[in-house]
């Protein structure tokens, strides 16, 4: 009906290869961007930005990173929290060490430093596979947490052990520090995340992405037809770590402002990001965003309903939240193991041929 591609003829290769080949998708994207850039800042409150929009964007970026590694290249990682911590610490050290440096450059450099660390921990992936690798990446998580906690240099020798982001400006507008307006931080996040997500999308649908997917589907077969597993896997590890690192740097600078590294980026963060890509959809860019929105919003909604509407005690509500959360994950896996992105795809297919069943 509305979602029909009849009458839309592609007359060039570039039209055929577009990210959104169907006109309706383009319009939907435009509407989405208008909402994100105009409606949300217009109607949003401080709480809305700080508790929902900014974390959703940051976790979506981290999930994009993990999705590159796990969803596209098939290497299961449980060290996301550790790599986010690297990004956060790198961001902190760079801003305090080089006060003149542009904040955008700081974020990108934090990502590059994290990419280097990720490369290091990716080396075992050539020999170790599957769950063995997953457990091996936990080594990164625990080792990095310990390192940032123990070595005082990473905290600039502050006695409390917390790292606090100093105020920084981009184009004359404060984006970090206590005085930064939540809306400005949100808009900066949005622009940054959208650009990086666009880059990731183009990366995974090009030759590099195809080599990752070949390795994911069967690494030996991929090796036989000429993909180099070592380079490809390490590439995935470093690109993935870059995204995760930038997400960590943004979490410190734009969202939390001041963190205790080992606490803020613990193993639960790793699991949270893994949940996001599983529920959103492995190997789907959109899945990372939808999953992040889902995982961030769900506990807030649950707590509000249980404590606010049903009048439960906060402790009991917390326990119920655990149960509900776990139950929902199992339910999702049973109903649609390929995530929300897959549901969306099925819905689109159905719409295209509506009212016919096939």
């Amino acid at each position: 009906m509305l979602y029909r591609e009849s009458g839309q003829f592609k007359t060039s290769y570039s039209a055929d290869q577009a990210i959104f080949p169907i006109r309706q998708d383009n319009w939907a994207m435009v509407v989405f961007l208008l909402v994100a850039f105009i409606a949300v800042p217009y109607f949003g409150t401080e709480y809305f930005f700080q508790a929902i929009m900014i974390p959703v964007l940051i976790f979506a970026l981290a999930a994009t990173g993990l999705n590159i590694l796990t969803g596209y290249c098939g290497q299961l990682s449980l060290g996301t929290g550790g790599f986010m911590a690297v990004g956060a610490v790198a961001c902190y050290k760079l801003t305090t060490g080089f006060p003149e440096m542009n904040f955008v450059l700081v974020l990108l450099l934090s990502g590059i430093i994290t990419a280097g660390v990720g490369l290091l921990f990716g080396i075992p992936s050539l020999r170790i596979k599957g769950f063995y690798l997953a457990v091996a990446t936990l080594a990164a998580q625990f080792f990095l947490s310990w390192l940032f906690n123990k070595v005082a240099w990473f905290q600039n020798y502050t006695p409390s052990g917390t790292i606090t982001m100093p105020p920084r400006e981009v184009f004359g507008i404060a984006v970090t520090g206590a005085n930064a307006d939540a809306m400005d931080r949100y808009l900066f996040c949005l622009v940054f995340v959208l650009i990086l997500a666009m880059a990731a999308k183009n990366l995974v649908r090009g030759p590099i992405g195809r080599s990752w997917m070949a390795i994911r589907d069967m690494d030996i077969a991929a090796e036989l037809i000429g993909f180099r597993p070592f380079q490809t896997k390490l590439m995935a590890f470093s690109v993935s770590s870059f995204y995760v690192g930038v997400a960590g740097a943004m979490a410190l600078s734009l969202w939390l402002g001041s963190v205790e590294t080992a606490e803020a980026f613990d193993i639960n963060v790793s699991f949270q990001v893994l949940f996001i890509i599983i529920i959103g959809g492995l190997g789907s860019m959109m899945g990372s965003f939808v999953g992040a929105a889902f995982i961030i919003l769900m506990p807030i909604v649950l707590t509000n309903v249980m404590v606010g509407a049903l009048g439960m005690q906060a402790v009991t509500a917390k326990h119920f939240e655990f149960m509900f959360f776990g139950g929902l994950i199992i339910f999702f896996l049973i109903v649609e193991p390929h995530g929300i992105a897959r549901l969306w795809q099925i819905a689109k297919e159905k719409l295209r041929i509506w009212p016919f069943p096939h």
Binding site: F142, W146, K150, F322, G326, G327, L333
Partner: protein, 322 residues
């Protein structure tokens, strides 16, 4: 030179100079290794029989220990009222085992059966979900405060020469050894055990000779529940029944990859190696880097080890074909 001396020579000299202290450290390591092995054993049993990497094993131990304490103190479920009769330890243990069997049946019905034939990672994620559910459920039923657990395992310590030995540790090791022997006999000599090994070898072949896969899974998860119960009793008596009990699962993971996912002896030996390695490293090399290396040392040890033997110590040889 100074650095090399500190890292390579000084700790070794220490060990040789005070052998009794070294033995005490190793002994302490062996004992915590036994505890790790107990948890790792539960993982291996389930992974062998159903190919599921059961992340919720630690929470199983927590849940079992919570249930045991609840029954022993006569707590009414969901209310925290202690108005039921207090049960003696052995009755409570048997009842808890029955609860764990019920849990195994529920897990097979609700979680595993609809997910048959899915990717390993999907199964793995579902057990993380299961861990969340059980954590919330255990706390909702029995309350979330720290509880003491005493099933009558004797405590105290005695000296052999200069070496101090905890009686509780000896009991723990004895019970663990007994459990392993019972499991080995069960797997080797009973009809059900043979069926379990057949399923572990090849699901489809086992199905085709008429082994009921569903029942096997229930049995395996029940046995894993029993192992979790024993682990829960040990850890619970040692450090109280509380949320952190579920985190021992994370400690068991390096044990698992060191020993190999599919090997029961691997879980035992891996546990002992990790236990000793981490204690010795903490005591002799820990002070060099300001301590608390216990958290990650096991993982790095396992990681380095895996580089040379990707399938673990006793794991099945990985054969890859296109």
């Amino acid at each position: 030179m100074e650095f090399l001396n500190l890292v390579l020579v000084a700790p070794i000299v220490d060990m040789i100079e005070y052998p009794s202290f070294f033995i005490e450290v190793v002994f302490g390591g062996l004992m915590s290794g036994v505890m790790y092995s107990l948890v790792a054993l539960g993982f291996v049993l389930i992974f062998k029989a159903s190919g599921v990497f059961n992340f919720s094993q630690g929470v199983f131990a927590l849940f079992a220990a919570l249930t045991l304490v609840g029954l022993m103190t006569g707590t009414v479920p969901f209310t925290l009222n202690k108005s039921l009769p207090e049960l003696p330890a052995w009755v409570a243990i048997i009842l808890t085992f029955i609860v764990m069997i019920g849990l195994a049946i529920a897990v097979e019905r609700i979680v595993l059966r609809p997910l048959v034939n899915q990717d390993h990672i999907i199964m793995f994620m579902s057990t993380i979900g299961l861990a969340f559910v059980l954590e919330g459920l255990g706390d909702t039923i029995w309350g979330s405060e720290v509880k003491a657990l005493d099933v009558g395992i004797p405590t105290g310590n005695f000296l052999i020469g200069e070496i101090q030995i905890q009686i509780f540790d000896l009991w723990a090791a004895g019970i663990a050894a007994f459990l392993v022997v019972v499991l080995a006999v069960f797997f080797q000599y009973t009809r059900t055990g043979r069926a379990l090994r057949a399923v572990a070898d090849d699901h489809q072949a086992a199905l085709s000779v008429g082994i009921p896969l569903k029942n096997i899974w229930i049995i395996v998860w029940s046995v894993a529940g029993l192992v979790a119960l024993v682990a829960g009793i040990m850890w619970g008596s040692k450090s109280g029944v509380q949320f952190s009990l579920s985190l021992i699962a994370l400690k068991a993971l390096p044990v698992l990859i060191l020993g190999g996912f599919t090997s029961v002896p691997g879980a035992i030996v891996g546990g002992l190696i990790i236990g000793v390695g981490e204690k010795v490293a903490e005591v002799y090399w820990g002070p060099l880097v300001d301590g608390a290396i216990e958290n990650w040392f096991a993982y790095v040890l396992a990681l380095v080890f895996l580089l040379f033997r990707p399938q673990g110590l006793f794991g099945d040889k990985i054969i890859e074909r296109v």
